[in-house]
Each structure stands twice: as C-alpha cells, then as structure tokens.
C-alpha cells in the first residue's frame, strides 16, 4: 500500500506580542512536531477538542499557512511550499462553515469556474461539461449554478464546497469539520455523499472532527490530538473501544451514550499554551501520572500492532 500523504515533524508556532521591528515577545506552539502517514485510499480521522491544533494542522497541509518546521510529502514527492497552485492540484480543503466559504457576491458558477480555470486552464465547453459532471456527482441540480450562496441551506452549501474542492481533481481531500455546522438529519446525507465520492474519485481523506461518533463511523484509522500533539493513533475500531492513552480513554468515556451513567463532576483543563508543562501535557488531569510523566515528554511509540500512543504508562487493552 503506497502512502498518499506523509508529514515529518510538521510544526507550527505563532508569535505573541508582535513588535514593529525586532523579535516577538513570546511564541506558542499550535502544532508540536507531528508525523503522520496516510495510505492511498484511506480515511484518517483526526479528533481533538477545541484549540488542540486540528485546523492549524489542516491549513498547513493545504499550504494556507506555512509550517514553522517539518516536511510534507504527497505520493512520495516533497511539496514545494512556495506555490499554492501546486498544493491545489494535489490536495484540497473543505471548510467547516459552508456558507462563509462561498463568496457572497459571486454566483455558484463563478465559484466553480475558478479552480478549473486557474488550476487546469479549462475554458469553454470543456469547462461547462466538467461543472455539470461535478454537480451531478454531489447531487445538486444544474439550475443552482446561477444563484448566489445565501440562497442555499447549510447542507446544500456544503455540497457546493465539496464540488469546488473536487474541481481541482485533487488526490487528497482535507475535510475540516465538514458536518459540524449542519443539522443532524442533513449531516448523514453529507457523510454518505463523501463516502460515495471517495470510491468514485479514488480519493484519500483526512477527516477532522470533534465528534467521536462521527469520526468512528467514517474513518479507517484515527489520530487523537491533544495540546498540539498526536497522543494516539490506531485502527478506528480499536482506538475508542480499547484506548491506550489515558486521554483517549477520557474522551471515549465523556461521549454521551444512551444508557451509560453520567460520570463524576470532576474538573480539569488544558495547560496554558504560553507556559506549557515540561513533561506530558496531560499529566495534570491524568490518573496514571508519575514523576516521569511530569519530567519527560512521552514520544509516540507502537504499543501493540498498529496502535500507537504517546504515553509512559499506556493502558492495557
């Protein structure tokens, strides 16, 4: 199985307290060095709570924000960071907020034409035909093409967003919370559509969400992010069923499931990014934390088979 996407120690830090000249006052890491592999045709789910760096990671992968360090490889070739169009033809992005990702002053047709013209130099009849084909693929009616974004519901707008991403004929689609803004009954429609498109266009997905159940339902493998780092990866059926990292366990236990009693009302918070702890970022909330955890950052390592965790004292299966 060949790799579609590979990141090596990809990291991003932001400057805090910029000055007009001279170095900034401080830096915070939004994404700590992350190494991920995604196989051809696979769906890798990425879960994590707000502020854990999901979107920052995704934006680096499509070239919308330059990484502070690390490499991105697509199908074995290192990506040229300088050229956004180079990213565009290989990897595309579907946004969380479907309506605000469409320019309110352009018709859907104009929105659809942009990637075809700019990335593939299409014109005239070929362009028309391709748009029709894409619209058909996402189950939208062609008469929608001459309307403006505000005339669409969230679900329809998200289909348009997906069609636009597909117009670039990418190999990989980054889906950043693609259904979070949608109604539950519409969410399933879009998830099913995504599953169909993946087969039809032979795509590889990186599916980002904060909803564990949704991620589990669509992914082959799952990576759990906490405080900018990957803390656990593994096959979708194992990660939440038999979590190795205590944080994954906490996540899985927190998800509301009918029939499961409510947990205790303990409290616990993310560490301060301006003042990160020296060892494991989860140590403050972790029931298994030891002195080692507070001193040394755990590295992601294989625990059993293809399940990896970044923990000094991983849980038993």
């Amino acid at each position: 199985m060949s790799l579609a996407l590979k990141t090596t120690d990809l990291a991003k830090s932001f400057d805090i307290g910029k000055r007009l000249f001279g170095p900034p006052r401080a830096q915070v890491y939004a994404v700590r060095p992350v190494s991920l592999d995604v196989a051809q045709g696979e769906t890798l789910g990425i879960v994590g709570e707000s502020g854990c760096g999901k979107s920052t990671l995704a934006r680096m992968l499509v070239g919308l924000s330059p990484p502070s360090a690390g490499e991105i490889e697509i199908e074995g070739r290192a990506l040229d960071r300088a050229d956004p169009a180079a990213f565009g033809r290989l990897i595309q992005y579907v946004f969380q907020d479907p309506v605000s990702s469409l320019n309110p002053r352009k018709t859907i047709r104009q929105i659809m034409e942009a990637p075809l013209r700019q990335l593939h130099g299409m014109r005239g009849a070929a362009l028309e035909a391709r748009i029709a084909e894409l619209f058909d693929a996402v189950n939208l009616r062609p008469e929608f093409l001459d309307r403006y974004p505000h005339e669409f519901s969230g679900g329809q707008a998200q289909r348009i967003g997906i069609a636009r991403a597909l117009a670039a004929s990418p190999r990989i689609l980054i889906l950043d919370e693609p259904v979070s803004a949608l109604d539950v009954s519409v969410q399933a429609q879009v998830l099913n559509l995504l599953a169909d498109l993946k087969v039809e266009f032979n795509l590889t997905y990186l599916f980002i969400s904060h909803d564990l159940a949704v991620v589990e339902a669509v992914s082959d493998r799952i990576a759990v992010l906490y405080f900018g780092s990957v803390v656990e990866t593994g096959p979708a059926e194992k990660v939440f069923a038999a979590p190795r990292h205590p944080y994954t366990k906490l996540l899985a236990d927190s998800a509301p499931v009918v029939g499961r009693p409510l947990g205790g009302a303990q409290s616990g918070e993310l560490p301060d990014p301006l003042n990160p702890p020296p060892g494991c970022a989860f140590a403050g909330r972790c029931p298994r934390a030891s002195a080692l955890c507070r001193a040394e950052v755990p590295r992601l390592r294989a625990i059993e088979g293809d399940q990896f965790a970044a923990c000094h004292h991983p849980r038993d299966a």
Partner: protein
C-alpha cells in the same frame, strides 16, 4: 438593484432627501440655461435689496449682485466640490485601507501608524496647514478637505477588509490557485464596494460643510467667484443690517447637506443586510403578547405550557416558530426537549418568561402557567420578580451570555440582590458559596475574575451558579453544553444532574443530542417544524420511537462503539417555518406519507406516550398493545 431602490424609497425620509437633492442638482445643472442676472455683475445702486424686490427674487448683496443668481452658481460650485472631495477621499482612502487590510503584517503596521499620525491632528489644523502651503483657493480647499478625510476612510475600510481577508472564501480562492491581484480584485473589492458607498454617501454632506467652512474663512473660493461658504462669509459683516444675505446661502447649505444626509442614511440602511432583515431592532423588556383567548388549564404540573403559539413577524412574512406546543414539567423532573436547529426549542423555552426578542417576536396564543398562574401577558413587574427567582435560565454560549465588563462576582451578587436585598457582604458570601457549589476551584479568588479570563467550562459553571442564586424551582437550560468540548460537557452534565438531585430542581433541558437526553432526562419531547411530534418517558421513546421522524433521526446519528458504517440519512430538508405545509410537516420527507397526511391538523394523541402521526411506527404500536 431593484430591491435596493424599492427599499430606499420605502424609507420616507430618504425619499424626501432624494427628491430635494434631485431638485437642487437639476437646478444647479440647468443654472447656465436659466434667465438669470450674471452672478458677478455689480450694481452698487441696488445694494442690499430685500427679497421679492423687483427683478431680484431673493434680493441683492452688498455689491448689488443678484442673490438668486449667485445662490444657484454658488450651489453648483459647492456641490461639485463636495462630491469631488468625497470621491477623491473615498477612493484614495479605500485603496490604502484595502491594501493595508489585505496584506496585513508590516505593510499594515507601517501604513496604519502613518494614518494614526495624521489623525493625531484635529482635522482643521491639517486642512489649514495644507491651505497655508498651497495658498487660498477653491481647488486647494478641495484638496485639503479630501486629504484630511483620507485617514477616516482608510481606517474604516481597513477594518472591513481585515474582516473579509480572514473569511474562509478568501482561503478557498487561494486554494483555487488565484494570485493576490486576482483575489483582491474579484474576491475582496466586490465585498468592499457597499461599505465604500455607505461611507461616501454618509460623508458627502460633511465634506460639503467643510469646504463651505474653508470658504467661509476666506481660504476657499476667491472673489468674485463665490460658493455658498464664501457668500456666507461675505454676508457676515452685514448680518444685523441685511440678514437675508446670510440666511439665503445658509439655508441652501442646510438643505443640501440635510438632503444628502437623509439620502445617505437611506442608502446605508438599504445596503446593510442586518437593517434590511430588521435584525437591528431592539428587543423589549418582555415579549409582546397578542392573543385572543386563553386555553383552559390542562395539567397541574409545576410549569404547564398549553397550546403555545409564538411567531416572528418580519415585514409581511410570518415565521411560526412555535405552534400549539403543550408541555408540563413536574417538580424535581428533568424534561428533555430535542429537535434540530430551527425546530423552535429555544423559542419555546424563552417564551416561558417572555424573553423572546420582540420585535419581531409575538406570542399569539396559549398559556404558560407556573403553579396555575398564567405568565403570558402578566405585567412586567410580575414577570421580573419571577425571572431568576422561581424560573432561572442557563444559556448556550457562556462567553456571550455573561457581561464582558463586569466581574463574575458582581454578576452573581447582582443576581442575588435584585430579588433579595441583602447587604453586599452577605451577597458576596452567598456568591462564593455558589461558586463552590458548582465546583469552581479557588472560588473566593475567582470572584474578581472577568468572564474572558475563564475557560469555557468554568464560564458555564458560573452561568449555572447564577441560575442557582435564588434557589429557583425550575431551571431552563438551553443547550448548555453545545458550545463545550466533550470532556467538559460530561463534567457539566454530571454537575447539573447532581444539583438536580440535591436541590430537587425541575429542569427543562434543551438539546439536539439523543445521547445527552438518554443520560439525563426522565421524559423527552421531540420537536419538528415548531410542533411537538412525540413525547414520553425517555427510555421508551429511545427504544421504540413512535413517530417516523424520531425513529429516523435516531437512526441517522452515529453512536460511539458501532464502528464504520453507512448511515441511514433522511432525504430533504427541515421545513422553513414561514411556509409550513398543510398537514404533517414531515410529510415531504416521510416514506410512509399518504394523502391523508397532507391536509388538516394532525392531533397529538396518546396518554403517557403521545405522538402526532396518522401511521405511527409498528414497534411502538406493538408495545402499546402488549401493555
């Protein structure tokens, strides 16, 4: 465009402004063709003729020149200069603002420091300095006024551009391979244009005033040529002896500027989508009530809602957000209200204490009874004394629902003291206790914190503490955990459940998550299109949903632990509540729909399990028969 014009002219003041301005502009354009005295022809014999004098409709000035003629020629000049200044300032300012806002970083920083520098001058100093350099003269006054106003435009437009440059569609354009120039031209600028138009239309009047002012000071148009400002300036010395020479040009300036301002405001209102939708209306202290008859009391719960109807009336459209909703809440019970976005959950909840934003909200029917006392239409003072004391609310987004400028301690003590006028010290003590009750570590120290200094979970705990301040009987929680992370959500739910047990609270819990309902609620009501479609004990409804919508909604939500799978989606969209179909609102999406479903009112039937469906689900029917 048509919409814009019709909106513009629906605003009577704007229409009035447009008409007056049109007349003035037409007169100004036609001035050279009108049979007027030459504006600069002096005739000292006829000095200071009063208005309506022979041949001089408006009289003459200190040199015996015809005032009407000078007025019209002056108007021409003033209008032209004002518009030109606004155009120059608007375009130059917009260009600077767009560049700085789009590119950000150092470009932005340096440009904006420069702009700030210019804005550090009271504007007239700069204008005077520019005129001092260029020398007095109308053209120079125009340049001065334009230059002085550029910083205002630049700042304004920059702010808007920054907002747009961070929108997702700009990212999308970059991913589509567009370069900066193309993005600026095709993505950013079209979204800026309305803002520039608004800014210009609301400042033209101001520019006309300013140029007139410079001319008034003798720094603008030079004799014998006169614009309105210099006419006033020349007339000032004879203010007391010949007031008409001042009044005539002064009133003209007033007319022009006022009509321009009225029109400008109209344009702004018509272009601003929020004003268009009436969203800028101020909600009143209590929801407006307009109901014909009061339904008889049904249950005898602690809180009973009977056949509640709440609508939003926006223009000619009526959004029936809540239709004939009946619910009852018993002491100590947790009732879940579940439904998709827009199904009317929040509006139902807010109607209870008259908190629906009004305008545009109106309660058009039904009753809400707290221990038998009807709250709909109750006097404001009665409602107020019940709010927070007997019935308290917890809202969704804890950041926007706490006042950003008050310390949380002050917000808590206020909640206590509006109902129980204890001393500050006593209220403080109780507030600390409340914070401890909701498990906020370091409660006493946290009293001084502002909301933005707390995390989302902590803020929601404060929200809960505030709801508990007066030991209410009922808490209405409107999606209190939707904005929170799962791990925090679990903590908050557990806390609510504990408090409910220990204090015997009745909770109306609104959510869109079946998992949450399953864990927390005794009974559940399902809403769709503003109606309750099913109610019953939670376990029964979840195990054997009776309404097709409930069944399919449960089926299409993935649940943790079921692995990778295809979901059973519901086709179609939820109905828009301003055009609810006749009959069952779910009919267009229901595979069991028959002709009977599409007409008439379908009743909510049953005893403990109620369902609003003509052909309820088999499993449910079977269970009911077994009982």
């Amino acid at each position: 465009m048509k919409l814009f014009l019709s909106l513009l002219f629906r605003n009577r003041l704007a229409a009035f402004g447009a008409v007056v301005l049109a007349i003035i502009v037409i007169l100004a354009v036609l001035t050279p063709l009108l049979p007027l005295h030459p504006p600069n022809a002096t005739n000292t014999a006829n000095r200071y003729l009063r208005p309506l004098a022979d041949g001089h409709l408006l009289g003459t000035d200190h040199l015996g020149r015809d005032l009407l003629s000078r007025l019209l020629w002056g108007t021409r000049l003033s209008l032209a200069v004002g518009f030109a200044a606004a155009l120059i300032a608007g375009l130059a300012g917009a260009a600077i603002g767009v560049m700085a806002g789009y590119f950000g970083g150092r470009t932005d920083n340096v440009t904006m420091r420069g702009i700030d520098m210019l804005m550090a001058f009271p504007y007239i100093l700069l204008a005077l300095a520019i005129v001092a350099v260029l020398g007095p003269g109308l053209l120079n006054a125009l340049i001065a006024v334009a230059v002085v106003n550029i910083p205002f435009f630049a700042r304004n437009i920059r702010g808007v551009t920054v907002g747009i440059a961070h929108r997702e569609f700009i990212d999308a354009a970059r991913l589509a391979g567009m370069g900066h120039a193309r993005i600026l031209l095709t993505e950013v600028v079209p979204n800026i244009v309305p803002v520039v138009v608004i800014a210009m239309s609301t400042t033209i009047g101001w520019m006309i005033l300013e140029t007139a002012g410079l001319s008034f000071l003798g720094l603008g148009s030079q004799p014998p040529q006169a614009d309105l400002g210099s006419m006033l300036g020349e007339a000032r010395s004879a203010l007391i002896t010949a007031p008409h020479t001042s009044i005539v040009p002064g009133v003209m300036i007033l007319l022009i500027v006022m009509s321009v301002n009225l029109l400008g405001d109209g344009i702004r209102d018509a272009l601003d989508p929020r004003l268009r939708s009436g969203a800028l209306a101020r909600p009143m202290a209590a929801t407006r009530v307009d109901r014909r008859d009061v339904p008889p009391a049904q249950g005898d719960g602690l809180l009973t809602i009977d056949a509640l109807d709440t609508q939003f009336q926006i223009g000619k459209r009526i959004y029936k957000a809540v239709n004939q909703v009946s619910l009852d809440l018993r002491p100590g019970e947790c009732l879940g209200l579940i439904g998709e976005s827009g199904s009317g959950k929040s509006v139902t909840a807010l109607s209870v204490m008259g908190l629906v934003a009004s305008p545009p909200g109106v309660i058009t029917g039904g009753a809400v009874r707290l221990e038998g006392q009807d709250l709909i239409g109750a006097p404001y003072e009665v409602l107020r004394s019940l709010r927070g004391r007997r019935v308290a609310y917890i809202f969704q987004d804890p950041l926007s629902t706490l006042h950003p400028l008050y310390r949380i301690g002050d917000q808590l003590t206020e909640a206590i003291r509006v109902h129980d006028p204890v001393s500050h010290a006593e209220a403080h003590k109780r507030a600390v206790k409340l914070l401890e009750d909701v498990r906020i570590p370091n409660a006493a120290a946290r009293m001084c914190a502002y909301p933005h200094e707390l995390s989302g979970g902590m803020r929601q705990r404060v929200g809960i503490a505030m709801a508990l301040a007066n030991d209410p009987d009922i808490i209405i929680a409107d999606e209190p955990t939707t904005a929170l992370d799962v791990t925090v959500q679990a903590q908050i739910l557990a806390l609510l459940d504990e408090l409910r047990q220990s204090r015997g609270l009745a909770i109306l819990f609104i959510t869109h998550d079946f998992g949450v309902v399953g864990q927390l609620c005794d009974r559940v009501a399902v809403m769709y299109g503003g109606r309750i479609v099913e109610t019953g004990p939670t376990a029964e409804v979840l195990a054997a949903p009776a309404h097709p919508y409930t069944r399919r909604l449960i089926a299409c939500v993935p649940e943790l632990g079921q692995g990778q799978r295809v979901l059973a989606a519901i086709p179609g969209l939820p109905p828009a509540v301003d055009q609810l179909p006749d009959g069952c609102a779910f009919a267009p999406r229901c595979e069991k729909a028959r002709a009977a479903c599409k007409s008439g009112e379908i009743a909510l039937t049953g005893a403990t399990r109620k369902v609003r469906c003509l052909y309820p689900e088999e499993a449910h029917v079977a269970r009911a028969e077994n009982h």
